[in-house]
Structure formats: structure tokens, C-alpha cells
Amino acid sequence: MRLKPVAAILLRQWYLLRGSPVRALPMFAWVGIDIVLWGFISRFLNSVTAAGINFTAVFLGAVLLWDLCGRVMQGLTTAFLEDVWSRNFLNLFASPLRIPEYVTGLVIASIATSMIGLAVMLVLAVPVFGLSFLALGAHLALFLLVLYGFGVSLGIVASAMVLRFGPASEWLVWPIPALLSPFCAVFYPLTVLPGWMQSVAYLLPPSYVFEGMRALLEGRPFALLPALCALTLTALEIALAGYCFVRVYRRAVRTGLLARYSAETVS
């Protein structure tokens, strides 16, 4: 993989942010609202329930981590959509740029922008609502890795969907994190789900993260097996998403969709 084309994709994102600071707003505005909302809900629940459960850590921590996963997906999809909106496909794909270089550039751009969101979330959640991740210890790094990886795989699949079904399908991809959240057991233990939903949950790496987070906050250990499952599933899902994108790209080249791709020509 060559570095210059990857740098080009990153530089383009930087130019867009610099050229229109309004684009930076979604990076922290919505996560800020989420943190404030769930911060007060957690504070209220802490005040009306028996001591023993720390809702700030359970709810606010879960919101923060799940939001991060969604931000990575949205960052990647938005970076891809920039090329759709500016009708840049022909210039881009008729160049020496390779698909892995393009996707790597999009992934790094989305991770960089979601890191800004994470920093804003922590600035709000830690001092204002007393959120602490100390109880998670070194597991936090594993959780972040899994959630970043899952967000990346969702972003690649969402981009492939837009490439396959046309620009109008962007409205199908934004709700994906919301659709998956009930299965990922973000706010409740897996055991409350019916059997079929649990089966789906075991295929989604975030469910291991949130189960692990609750276990650690309750003083229970987070076993090695679920950690390995989460990491393996994340790696598999990124590989599967990459395969899916390449297949969709090749089909678009074969059918001529790529050559005539624009908001006007694809329904």
C-alpha cells in the first residue's frame, strides 16, 4: 500500500473541514447533547434508587462507548459520501488509487474525527457528571479497539450499500446503529433478550463489550473467552465488510454503474 494516495484522502478531509468549519459541528454537537441528556437521567436514577448501582457508569459509560462506535461508522460513511455529493467518482476511480488505499484513507479520517468527538464526550462526562472509567482498567483499551473496529466494518458496509443502491440509499444507512443497538445489549444484560435475539447478539462484538463493562463495574471479572470472541468477530467482520465493498465495486465496474454514478443517474 502506498502512503501518498492515503495521505491524499486524509488531506481532502482536512481541506473540507478547514474550508467549512460548520462540518466540524456534528463531530461534537450531538454527542454533547447525548452526554448531557443521559448524564441527568443517570443522576436522577442514582438519586431515586437504592445504593449499589452506579447508573452514571452503567448508562453514561454505555452511551459514550456506543456513541463512539456510531461516530466511527458515520465518519467513514460521510467521508465516502463526500465523493458521491461532489460527483468525484470518475476522477477518483479512473486514477491509480487502489481500493485498499481509498478505504484505509476513509478509515483513518473517520477514526481521527471520532477521536475529537470522544475528547469532547470525556470533557463533559468526567468533570460534569463524575463518570470514571477507572474500574474498567486496561480493559477499556480492548473495548475501544472492538468498538472502533465494529464501527469501521459498519462504515464500510454502509459505503458499499450507497455504491450498490445509489445515493438515495444514504437514508437507509444512518439508522443502522439504532437498529443494532437492541441486539448489542448496550443498556441491559443479554439475559433479558429472547433466545433468537441473544443468538444475533453473540455475532455482534459490541454485545461482549457491554456485557464485559457491566461485569467489571459490578466487580466481576471479564473472562478471556468473550474478549477473544469480541476481537475475532471484529476482525472477521472488518474482513467481510472489505470483501463486500470490493465485490460491490467490481460489480459497479462490470455493469457500468461506476462510470455513470451520480445523484441524477442512479435512482
Partner: protein, 262 residues
């Protein structure tokens, strides 16, 4: 493959572009039907034909954004299907329907594409091109607010960033005023002459084609009907000029290309 549907330059040097038995089908529709031709180094070849003749399909297959149903395409000695990235690093293009991102400035667009094409001494190259296409005053202007003529100049600057060995130009002067169009034609001719870059040029302006192209290929229904020197072809086929010959061919495509070639 129809052997008569095959044209090459007279030069003995290796071709900048070599297309062999190219076919592209969309189901029953045959957009390109076994076309073979070459563009020699430093040669400007005009690809002519009515709308829907297959010109853009050929350009898209050369640029690897459209996979041919069969046939082969080589840029220099590199097979596009096998070494897409290497082949495209030696190629570039400008087309009226492929404008550069409007939310980036002229200089940002040139830097972005310069990095993608792996251009060495990129800053210096950008300055050269800004100067060549009189774009210095527009360097910090977003492409989205440029006039169509200015956009064409930026697209041409982008197309020359990597000093291509093969340049594909799809109606490059369509949006330019006569003076700018003349300057552009002169710049492309000089480029082909001085650097040995092969150029495949599509245009509906027959005066321009006659002035610029060393050779033309007339396409109709995905096949090459005629090929030759644009200055000699009209007389050889009983037409007063290239435009008349174009209209004649576009209105009455021959039942079989070989008849026209005899």
C-alpha cells in the same frame, strides 16, 4: 473479430495505447463491437461519431471504470486489466462530465490529485500548471464557483499533473471561448510533440479535429467505420469537408464497415 475493424498508427515505436478486439455488451445491446486501434507516442487520434456511437464507452474501458466484455487494452506495455494502478499512473484524462470537486479550491484539487498520482516535486508541478493555464489568480478559489471555461482549464491542468504518456480528452474545448480553445489546442499539440504523449481526443467540432488530430477513427454503432488523415478523408469519400463526411456517416451508417473501407 472483423479484421477490417482494426487500425494502427504507422509509427514503429511502441504504442501509447493499444486496444485489441474490444467488446462491451449490456445484455443484448452491443455498445462496442470488436474495436481495435492504437495511439502512437506523440500522436493525436480523434475518436469521432454520433451520440451513442461508443466513444465514451471506449474511454471508460481504457480508464478501467468500465470492464470490457472481452478484448484487451494496453497502455504502453502495461495491461490495464492485470495492472490497473500502474497503467493508470501513466494516464490521465479530462472530460466535461467529470468536473473536479467544487468544494475544494483549484490548488487543493491539484494537490489532492497530485498525491493520488504520486507526482514528484508536487508543489513545483502545481505552480508550472497554474502558470501554463493562467490559473494563478484562481488558485484559492473553490472550483464550484468557477465558470465552465475556467473549470475546463483546471481539468486540463489536473490531466497534465502526472506528465501522462496517454491523455484522454473527451470534448476538452466544449466550454471554452474561441481564443481559449485555440490556446488549449496549441498546448495539447505542443505536449504531444514535446513529450511524446499519445492523445485520444473526442470532439464534435470537426474544424478542431481537422486542425489538431493526426488521425481520426469514425465510430458508429460501436464499430470503426473509417480511419485516416482528417485532411485527406473527406476528398477520398466525396465529401467537401470533415463535417459533411461526419453527417454522411452518422445518417447513413454502412451495413458493413468493410464496404466503406474498400
Amino acid at each position: 473479430m472483423n479484421a477490417r475493424n482494426h487500425y494502427s498508427s504507422d509509427s514503429g515505436a511502441p504504442a501509447a495505447l493499444r486496444v485489441r478486439a474490444l467488446r462491451k455488451n449490456y445484455g443484448e445491446l452491443q455498445a462496442v463491437d470488436g474495436v481495435s486501434f492504437e495511439v502512437g507516442p506523440g500522436e493525436i487520434v480523434g475518436l469521432l461519431g454520433p451520440n451513442g456511437a461508443g466513444k465514451t464507452t471506449i474511454i471508460n474501458t481504457v480508464l478501467a471504470v468500465l470492464a470490457p466484455s472481452s478484448g484487451s487494452i494496453r497502455i504502453g506495455n502495461v495491461d490495464v486489466a492485470r495492472q490497473r494502478s500502474l497503467a493508470l499512473a501513466r494516464t490521465n484524462f479530462a472530460a466535461v462530465y467529470a468536473s473536479l470537486p467544487g468544494n475544494l479550491t483549484v490548488a487543493q484539487n491539484l494537490r489532492f490529485f497530485g498525491l493520488i498520482y504520486g507526482v514528484r516535486s508536487l508543489s513545483r508541478r502545481i505552480e508550472e500548471l497554474l502558470s501554463q493555464f493562467t490559473l494563478q489568480a484562481l488558485r484559492d478559489t473553490k472550483c464550484g464557483v468557477l465558470s465552465s471555461g475556467e473549470l475546463t482549464r483546471v481539468a486540463l491542468a489536473k490531466a497534465l499533473l502526472n506528465r501522462p504518456r496517454l491523455l484522454l480528452l473527451d470534448e476538452p474545448t466544449a466550454s471554452l471561448d474561441p481564443a481559449a480553445a485555440r490556446d488549449t489546442r496549441a498546448a495539447i499539440r505542443a505536449l504531444a510533440r514535446d513529450t511524446g504523449c499519445g492523445v485520444l481526443w473526442t470532439s464534435h467540432n470537426m474544424y478542431e479535429v481537422e486542425e489538431v488530430c493526426d488521425r481520426v477513427l469514425f465510430l458508429s454503432h460501436g464499430r470503426i467505420l473509417l480511419a485516416g488523415d482528417p485532411r485527406a478523408l473527406p476528398a477520398a469519400h466525396g465529401a467537401r469537408n470533415l463535417e459533411e463526411l461526419f453527417i454522411q456517416l452518422a445518417r447513413e451508417p454502412l451495413a458493413h464497415p468493410a464496404e466503406q473501407l474498400a
